[in-house]
Amino acid sequence: MPLFARRGALAAATVALTLTAGCSSSDSGSSSDPSASSSGSGSSAFQPQHKGGTLKLVAHAAAGSLDPQVNYTLQYWQLYQSMYDGLLAFKKVGGDRSFTVVPDLAAAMPKVTNGGRTYTFTLRKGITFSNGKALTTDDVVASFERVFKVSSPTAGTFYNGIVGADACLKKPASCTLPKGVTGDAGANTVTVNLTAPDPEFAYKLAVPHASVVPKDSPAKDSGTKPLPTTGPYMAASYDPNRALKLVRNPHFKEWSREAQPQGYPDAIDYTFGQTVESEVTAVENGQADWMYDAPPADRLDEIGTKYASQAHVNPLTAFWYATLNVNMAPFDNKLARQAINWAVDRSAVVRLYGGTNLASPACTILPPGFPGHVDECAYTKGGGTTWKAADLAKAKELVKRSGTAGQEVGIVVQDDDVNKSIGQYLQSLLTQLGYKATLKPLSGNIQFTYIQNTKNKVQLALTSWYQDYPAASDFLNVLLSCASFRPGSDSSINISGFCDKGVDARMRTALTTMQTDPAAANKQWGALDQDIMAESPVVPLINPKMIDFTSTRVGNYQFSKQFYMLVGQLWVK
């Protein structure tokens, strides 16, 4: 996708919010966001003849907690689109328009006042949770407080700008936001006050961590116990070792097709525990309708030829990367970190992922086509703007200079075929560089939280990052800021533990610049990307594409660039 197009999307959204700040929103339900109002034609009408049936999804493993304010995985965020709602939502359509933020539980885009610090939302009327209770402003206020009470992974990065958030981050259990988020039941409005303008706040309100749940929801991770939903589906049962069953929310009535369209299947059965091989076979045989996991290498050719009509390949604004723990030997040594970046053969990782039609080598943290991305490759033989080849000789020299050769390095990966094979490659590479490398494959159920917790002393982990929303800060600020590093917590998304005060200050500057000059801000983000890569806390490996492999009976496939395949919009009848 051309670079300007993504920048255009971000600029449009930013301008829209800036415009909204000077506009009065009406309660008519129409949006004051120009991009939102112009994109209504994209929402196709519901086709009742396709309503019904059970959509059968399969995955190797569950993705942990079902709590929308806690879970931080693509696997469940994709599902949450048909279950939970926030005040705002990304438009549920295919293509670039899916980056557009539209009003969801709010009747319209917010009235932004006080120099971009105050957002006032008017709630839609008549929305009911799946437990039969009506949505109120109290639920919205309690949900914002709950973000901190449950130590949501993004509490310190997405929502730390809310007035009172600092105290909540320090003492989550007793979090209240009396000046940060207030509700007016009479006027049916909710007001959010920020300590400083945040041009990305609308995006942050449109992700699942800002979902509105009932005010009496437990002030802790609800785990396997589903919370009531507002969307078209609710969880009827959940056993992470077996299955998740979604059924229709009996209280759901479509209020905005672009924000929360009603779904086609009557039920969605998500089964866990199969091998990826058997997932492919199940989809081929029509025993499953879609598989979450990337198909294994030996089945790709078969899918790409015999079942080509059932395969949907889409580029992602994401990257797979290796985290290097900058607070533990040997990667507390910058030379050792740089050595890994020089040594990794990205084309090898592309092959292990499935070939050049499924991934491309990554040089930067910001994916190509993403706001702020600069075509520059710091760690390629001969230099240049794209990755060409690894420089093993230089890497060995750096390891020698660092004096870290011979040290033990543990590599933690997920235990699926693709992750494990990349892990084996990294282990082989580290051995070549002179380290004593060991590989620790863990179930995808626990690996992501395991590698975040500093108590587990993970030196090198293989993981991936898929955008939360289309802004550079979602990669750089979220993954590598000091605020994202929370020692001892399972929610420490800065897995490398990289914390540079100077870089942090520059990120804050870029965020400020974003309010007035997105183009200049993106240049700042691009420079930050390069400078962080010079410190080498992570090793970008590939920018992946996604294959959605669906059964023959599946129709109405739509790929949202924001949250990927729209599960609830698939029809099986």
Binding site: D298, E302, D345, R351, L352
Partner: protein, 338 residues
Amino acid sequence: MTSAPTPGTRRPPGPWRTAAADLLRNRPAMAAAAVLLFVVLASLCAPLYADHIAHTDPFQSHVSGTTVVDGRTVPVLTPSSTGLGLGVTPIGPTWDPAHYFLGADNQGRDVMARLLYGGRTSLFIGVTAALLTCVLGTAVGVVAGYAGGVVDAVISRILDVIWAFPVYLLAICLSVVLLTDGLRLGPLRVDAGSLWLPVTIIAAIYVPYIARPLRGQVLVLRNKEYIQAAVGSGAATPRILRREVLPNVVPTAIVFVPLMTALAMLTESALSFLSVGVQPPDASWGTIIQDGLGLLYTRPAVTVAPGLLIALTTAALNVLGDGVRDTLDPGARLRGGV
């Protein structure tokens, strides 16, 4: 009264020599021994094959590597060029010993070279674990059977507890726990990635399989007249054990060795297949099967070859074990086994 052998008459062969002669006349056992010898020799030649014939490092990934097939340079992992162009397939068997004889795995490693190295590992673990099991089992069985009383009761209950666990479940549990930090038991220290870890685990879980029958044998032996005579004549217990008891139970223990080796190899393969046995980059036949699992549809040789070798080797060990049993304990055949 003894008399000196008469010059010109042959001294009758000893029991061990007789047993060896019997074994040599056992054709199935000799065929099995030949198969085993071939597998052992081939495995020992692994470095020779990797360094001087295939010119490859079987423990290093060659994902972007190339090789020569029919005079053409081709990538070891070939991207698909049909349909949507998805996927990468490792090179299949070339039947050329110098260039990926059995093809490559998903890391671009030479499967033949890994098979030979894997054989070394599997045989090492199988034989070492079996020997360790037999030594420990013999010691425990002899002590429990001869000492009797409280000692026997305690040892027997411990053996019962170990016996009560499904053997693979116990092995998996021990492996999962010990793979994190290795084994630290007093002076005994085994690193997490060491081959001695699966050896120790496998040896430990099979001790009851040796100790219990040997204990029963010793319980019978201790009531024999010649043992009672030795006790009555004031012989020390260690001497009785060494001179009277052990010579009677060692043949039984020896019969167990090939059978336990087969069992240990199967257990190692299972553990390695489940990623809790031999750890990468070390290769064993079990790990190679696991590596090949993701290539079952496109490159079945990666899985089939080590599978066949495991089957062949364990079958040969069982046949040889039967031969050894028939030789050292002819009565066992009549009783229906050891």
